[in-house]
Every structure is written in C-alpha cells, then in structure tokens.
Symmetry: C2
Subunit: 234 residues, 2 copies
C-alpha cells in the first residue's frame, strides 16, 4: 500500500495539453518561474518572428554555440548548414542523433531602474532542447530548405531558382522536434524598491526593435527587374 501511494495515481492531471508543451526538469527555471511559459502558440509566435537561432552542442565535452538559420514547420525546426560544418557532420555520424539546444531571443526594451541592481532587459526567448537528426529524404530536404528561405523573407522561395541536385547534396539539414520547449518573457517597467522611488535617477524603458532598410539591388541586376511586393512590406 505504501509503495502504491508513492507512485502517481491514475487520476493525476496530465501536465501537458494539446495547447502547451509539457514542462520538464530542465525547462522549469530555478528562478523567475513566473516568466516561463509553455503555450504552443506563444512559442510559435516567438520562433516565427525571426530566422536566426543560437544552436548549442557538445564537442569533446565542451559546449559550442553557433548562430544558425532555421525554420519552423509545424512542431519541427529545421536547421541549415554545409555538409562540411562540424555540427552537421556530427549529427550525421551520431546515432541516435546529436543533442542540441536551440535558443531564439528578441530584445524588446532596455529597463532602466533607479537602482543598478534592478536594471533589466525586456525580452522574449524560446529554448528548445532536443536531438538533431540529419534529413536524408530528398523531398523533406527540399521542403526544409524552402522553409528556411521563406523564414527569412516570406514568399521568397517561390521567387528564386530552386536548388539543383548538386546544391542539395552540398547542403545538410538537421531536424529537431519541438517537444521539450519553453518560452521566457519579461515585459513592463522597472521594479524599483519603494525606498528608491524618490531618487533623482530617470527610470523607464527604452524600446528596442529590429528594422529593415531600403533594399539595395545588386550592381549586376538585370535591367527591368523590379523590387518584388514581398520586399516592400519589410
């Protein structure tokens, strides 16, 4: 009876739902737990807003973090690289895959508090823990590469010359399923101590954003090729 009591009874609420990722020991932060989120839509929105992640992997026991282009397709991330690059080769050799951590961060604001201690950053980040597998199916690889181009500029893949067999062979694509995932968000103004409120230091938030400049055509662009519609909205 005591042993039976020590395992979770069948009536336990599941910790995951179709709408959210199941928290795990490593996706629950040790501090600022109120900033952690597991909602799928929220995670997707953070991932879909950019195209560059920082991918970590372990090489000879030490961590390596590289900036890497990615795309989200449903509950899957695709990561792009040369077949000659280290993590891609490692994932191809590794069985059952390469353990990775992919992190995406948007900085939304600088939070200036009256005290040095309460200075902070408003941000939205997603951390994905998982196993990277090389995509070997040519059809999936082609779709993944299109998705990576479209993640950078939506609509661009259809308006470019598709990869040929040689180019496909020279490109490696890794697949990571979205399963062990969390978002972390900080919003709002500074959280100063009550005793500091009357100090003469300015306090508030400086918004930070990513902006796009006017597209610069290549010098050798054929005459008559106009700027496509999908680039005017950036």
């Amino acid at each position: 009876m005591e042993i039976a009591m020590s395992v979770a009874p069948d009536t336990t609420e599941p910790t995951t739902t179709p709408d959210s990722y199941a928290p795990t020991e490593r996706t629950v932060p040790t501090r600022s737990k109120e900033r952690a989120h597991y909602d799928r839509e929220l995670v997707h929105s953070i991932l879909d807003e950019t195209y560059l992640c920082h991918m970590g992997f372990v090489r000879d026991g030490a961590p390596v973090v590289l900036p890497t282009l990615y795309a989200r397709v449903g509950e899957r991330l695709y990561v792009h690289g040369s077949t000659g690059s280290r993590p891609l080769r490692m994932a191809g050799q590794a069985d059952p895959g390469l353990s990775v951590c992919l992190t995406v961060t948007h900085v939304d604001g600088l939070v200036l508090a009256r005290s040095a201690f309460h200075h902070s950053i408003n941000y939205r980040s997603v951390v994905v823990h998982g196993t990277a597998h090389q995509v070997t199916d040519p059809q999936e690889k082609r779709l993944a590469l299109d998705a990576i181009v479209d993640q950078v500029v939506a609509g661009r893949a259809a308006d470019s010359r598709p990869a040929d067999a040689k180019e496909l062979a020279a490109t490696a694509v890794l697949r990571v399923d979205l399963a062990e995932v969390s978002a972390k968000i900080r919003t709002g103004g500074p959280n100063d101590e009550p005793k500091d409120m009357e100090l003469p230091h300015w306090a508030g938030v400086v918004p930070v954003a990513r902006t796009y400049g006017a597209p610069i055509p290549s010098d050798d662009l054929e005459p008559g090729v106009e700027l496509p519609e999908y680039l005017r909205g950036l």
Copy 2:
C-alpha cells in the same frame, strides 16, 4: 633527427601577436575560412556593440544555451546572473570552473540571391571558448556589475543607486578570459552562379539594424526628473 623534425622548431613564427588571438583547432572553421578573423580590435568592436550573448554550457552531458547579459572589460568578459540560476551555481561548484561558449551575433543584412542555394545573411559574430569562474572579490564584483550596466547604456552605472551588500550577495558574476576567440563576418551582395545572372529574380541586400524608440518614462517617475543626456543619443 626525425623526431626532432616532427616537433615545431624554436624558430617557428608565433601564431599569435599582441594584436590578435591565436587560432586554435576549434576556432578555425571547417568551411568559409576566409570569413574567420582573430584581430583583437575587430573582436572587441563586435563585442562592444551589444550587451546580450548566448552562453552555452553542458549540463548532465547535454548542451544548454541561455541569453545572458555581459560586459567586456579589457581582455575579460563578465556575465551576470542570479546566484540561484543553474550556470552560476554550476560555475560556483565546479572546480576548476565551468566550460562555456559565449556567442554574440549581429545581423546586418538579408542576402537575396537569384538561386535559393546562395541566399545568406550578412552578419558579424564572435565566439568565445573558455572557462567561467565565479567572481568572489567584492571590489571586482562591483566593477563588473557597473560594467554590465554601462554595456547596456554607457554612463548609466554612475547615474543609479549602487548595489548594497544584500544585493551584491544576491548577484553572481562569472568571469571568462578572452583567449580562445574568433570573429566571423559576411559582407557584400549575393554570390550567384554565372548561369543564373539573367534570371528574372530580384537580387540584392536588405539592410537590418537594431533601433531604439523614444524612451518611455515610468508612470511613477518623480516630477522634474529629466531624460538624461546619455539616453538622447541612442
């Protein structure tokens, strides 16, 4: 004699100079070697342009990548965190320190080629491999925290209430020396194949930049506290 010949003779030129970091096996890329740089000034300029890095470390054999505030002070990076956060606790427990990789990336442009294959990103990144040690000296810790505040907004540390003993105790600072460091840079337009030059697809670069909005004062800001000079130039 053969054995003597197989080791580096004393007359070998040093691979490092006061002006550059010595390349190592893991800071020499396996591809696009022409994009790798070891010049100290260049590395410093990339590090000094922002305040957020992605720090990787290994936990239970798996990689973890977290967005983290940092500051550069000479040939040293300081990384900031709560004493309760995992990497900070791990660095405190670990002897001789925690193996880390700190990566900083600026996206400067989207490179749109006529072929999907040659799409790229213009970027400048720095990757720092090293060992993180907890800063225990109170004076160094205070200087490091000031540096982290000033890395976000130059001049701000002096215009805020300094950390008190309790706040200092609640904050952990890691130190990583700049020794095994490389930068990677891509600039310029698309590198299309000669056969693709007459294709009807627009080609060029879309500039990307980080911009700051007008500072938003806290609702509870004391009347008469004006926006400081160092925030007007952002």
